[in-house]
Symmetry: D2
Subunit: 299 residues, 4 copies
């Protein structure tokens, strides 16, 4: 695996919980085993879809270690380590490195949002990268952070030797082009959502970290395989078929929806952790219908 | 101190840092000693102005313990314990109780904002209150959380025997009235900002947790004293004189401004923790000018 | 009437429509007659509650003329004339003056919002005021325009001899204080909502243009009379009783709610103009209940 | 021209003004003549880039008539007729039809935004379409209206026989896919921005109404020609070269930038109408640099 040119599909792994709220590590490992049999290029542990903000430090450490130990050889292990303070982000990043993660995905600080200027973001990421034992990637996800990291900031940071890429979850193709225009060719610009997977491939993006890969890894991979093989219409057709499923397990039903779909599709979704709520029956039926219409489950 | 009827002024205590980024506990204690000499009714440790999101668990514990140990007898000790997950919020709240805090101030969960419905918020706070060893207060601060907790939610939660009040930092007087209309008489509805201190008093709010009380505690207290003594115009005049200072150390210059003003006014502001930036010279001069025009510093 | 010191209550007059969508001028006049019998200090014709954006130029002209002709002597006639272009705003303002309006209430331009900088707003209002035959007032209502006019802009514009005041519909008391701090003493700073009528009076604001005055003019006036007479608790008690009604006929049910309440309270609400929808039965019942609980209707 | 399948590029025509603020119809005609020589498929008169909100009814009528009279034969003439009220939108649409426009582009009502529910939007567009003498298209442009029209609404409206398409200016490719999934095959789904022109073509969108086509019509057309000819990399390369120019004349510098670029590129940009401001020298130089780097002007 060449971290200068990441290609392929990475699931931001869900964290199954038991009914009592404990992490269900066995379920996590069963999912990992199953994902190991798919042609994924790596794993993101402790992403937004992992309910990371609901995990404590021991749980986070254990999930990184389990991932490192049980991932199929050659897979790229990315760990989410973003924290509000520069020093804690560095500390968590280096812990993740020590536990075996290959790189860290770093959220911007956002609590004191009016003070998080471009200057602050550049300084933050630069200091983290300077002090991190492993490479870092930038994580842009304004639906949670309310910050849209500008092309100016990305352009500048992409020159840092220890900042090797970014996950852009905006689903905004024009923004991707804007980032491409200012970043170096070896900067790993990844889409953070399957909602633009095929258009992103067409525009030269070659990797994606996408919630949908938790439950339909082979299909997400197949879009890219068909694309690379020159079968663009097959790639597009599959992408379009998956599109409503992706909308359902992200925008519409969120992580509870993703986990319910995981259960239906042979993975271990398990419980969400409180205060998040499970789907109610109506929502379950609607989601099942969407999965059925996409041809990914059959009754 | 009767927690059924909190009255007076509480500073959300700043956390001074050293240049190397470590917490400066000595400076914190010097501030506390000085605040002890003012007629404050209590302290909030680990509020937004404490840069709490930048602190680790050991630092948080030590700050609570130092506050408990060193606060003047009879003062109400409130600790911020909000966390994204229900279980961690309960755990942190009970730790704070064990360290000696009298009550906990609890932020709503907000990362997965589109899923944080009224139902989720009611369930979250109810479960926390059910399981907390100390009473809790709700913390509404949408400039950081992007959630404005509705009157419906507050009304319902105010009936819980272990939810004794709220800090509303919106600065929105009409919202306070809306909350008053649905909450029980013994619910401690506190303004979370000095920007409406006098109007809030006039409307029957009798306590405030306000950044400004870090640096001008006696003046914040005096507004209420004059008001209670029936000297409304003196109360209003002082409130109006403090108003531009409050705007400067909150909306305009934020915590870095509050800390710089603290240094000018004989407290220990110290450094902010990274990624936050210190004020630059221009900002310092402008802030000094505002303090001077308000008559709180003299050259 | 001294336009240097407007005091009292002004209704932003509703425009009744017939079922076929035509303006019901007779109903408008019946309302006006009734308002004439109340101690209102003036009228706003063509405000937001007038569904002005749904009116054509002939209708606007006729409504101004009817107001001018039929208003009780001595009442201050204010006409909404804001338009996106500087030239059209001047033209509409001067037409309103020619039709007999005493002053114009001017919305900021907001369509090209990202370009509507402080500089543009200052230039816009200055040019309008320079060329207007009648005095103008600034209209700040970000819930419709998405622009919150800054204290800096208001401070600067308040020095213009032909800009005599503003209607601030934010309901934000701290913002009012901010405006007061930078405006001249003879600048008519008016609240644009009854939601803060009593606190605004207490802070020295002496006039209000409020939707609620359409349906409960005497009550809105009475709050101020009691206040002026030194009966602050009577003023506050009445304000608090009206508060839920005001919330219902503005934030919750909007103009359709205001008009339905008008019908219930002996005024002519009539139809809203399409695309606005009338209240449905559930909403009508809930609104009736709120009016009943406030003691303003009885069954 | 088959309105069931619009293909190609349409400029939302700028409106040149004289220094005194009058419409410069001669300049408008010179532009039109020049555009007539390009292979554009039609014209949008009275779009957002036409500063339509700054025009009066006489000016609007004259611009439609000039367009109808002077457009090259066979071009599709689309006129913006959106207004806040249903009745005025119908009236303006039928006037536009009477003046010779082939179809109308209709903004949603947005002033009373909190009441503009999906139900209201469906009813509004349905009534307009029912009563319009010419076909209508929906105009989604949330950066001005603050409303993002949902796929549900578009899906339902696309079944109306007199609603023949939409201009989506969001620049959001995933949203386009969402619209495609619910609309009939003969619904003309057009991108409203050049920022996603090539990706949109790749996803089966075959028409675009784009600001950039005012100043670089041939280049915008060429992207599609190369795409259709199977020269995808040539299409993409040109699209990428134009991308920074498009960002500059829309997001960064707005209409004033578009007009300045028009002047540089041999069109008549002229003045913007007040309150809009012209570019300052620094901005002009920066924009010139961007045009030069894109190879569309040479010094």
């Amino acid at each position: 695996m060449d971290i200068k040119s990441l290609t392929g599909v990475i699931p931001p792994m869900i964290t199954p919980f038991k009914e009592n709220g404990d992490v269900d590590y066995d379920a996590f490992l069963l999912n990992l085993e199953k994902w190991n049999r798919s042609d994924l290029c790596g794993y993101l542990v402790l992403g937004s879809n992992s309910e990371t903000v609901y995990l404590n430090e021991r749980e986070k450490q254990k999930l990184i270690e389990l991932t490192v130990t049980n991932a199929r050889k050659g897979r790229f292990i990315l760990a989410g380590t973003g924290s509000e303070s520069t020093r804690q982000t560095i500390e968590l990043t280096n812990h993740a490195g020590a536990f075996g993660a290959h790189a860290a995905l770093v959220l911007p600080p956002y609590y004191y949002i009016s003070k998080m200027t471009d200057e602050v973001l550049v300084t933050f990421y630069t200091e983290v990268a300077d002090n991190a034992d492993i490479p870092i990637l930038i994580y842009n996800v304004s639906k949670f952070t309310h910050i849209e990291i500008s092309a100016q900031v990305i352009g500048e940071l992409s020159r840092h030797p220890n900042i090797i890429g970014m996950k852009d979850s905006s689903g905004n193709v024009a923004q991707l082009i804007g980032y491409q225009n200012v970043t170096a060719p070896d900067f790993n610009l990844m889409t953070g959502t399957a909602s633009i997977w095929y258009p992103a491939l067409k525009l030269g993006v070659s990797a994606g970290i996408m919630a949908l890969a938790n439950i339909l890894p082979n299909e997400c991979i197949e879009v890219r395989k068909q694309f690379i093989a020159g079968n663009e219409s097959a790639a597009e057709e599959l992408y379009r078929r998956l599109f409503p499923v992706n909308t359902a397990v992200t925008a519409t039903y969120g992580i509870a929806g993703l986990k319910y779909a995981a259960d239906l599709l042979g993975f271990k979704g398990g419980y969400v952790r409180k205060p998040m709520l499970m789907l109610i029956d109506n929502e379950k039926r609607a989601l099942m219908q969407i999965l059925s219409e996409a041809g990914v489950i059959h009754f």
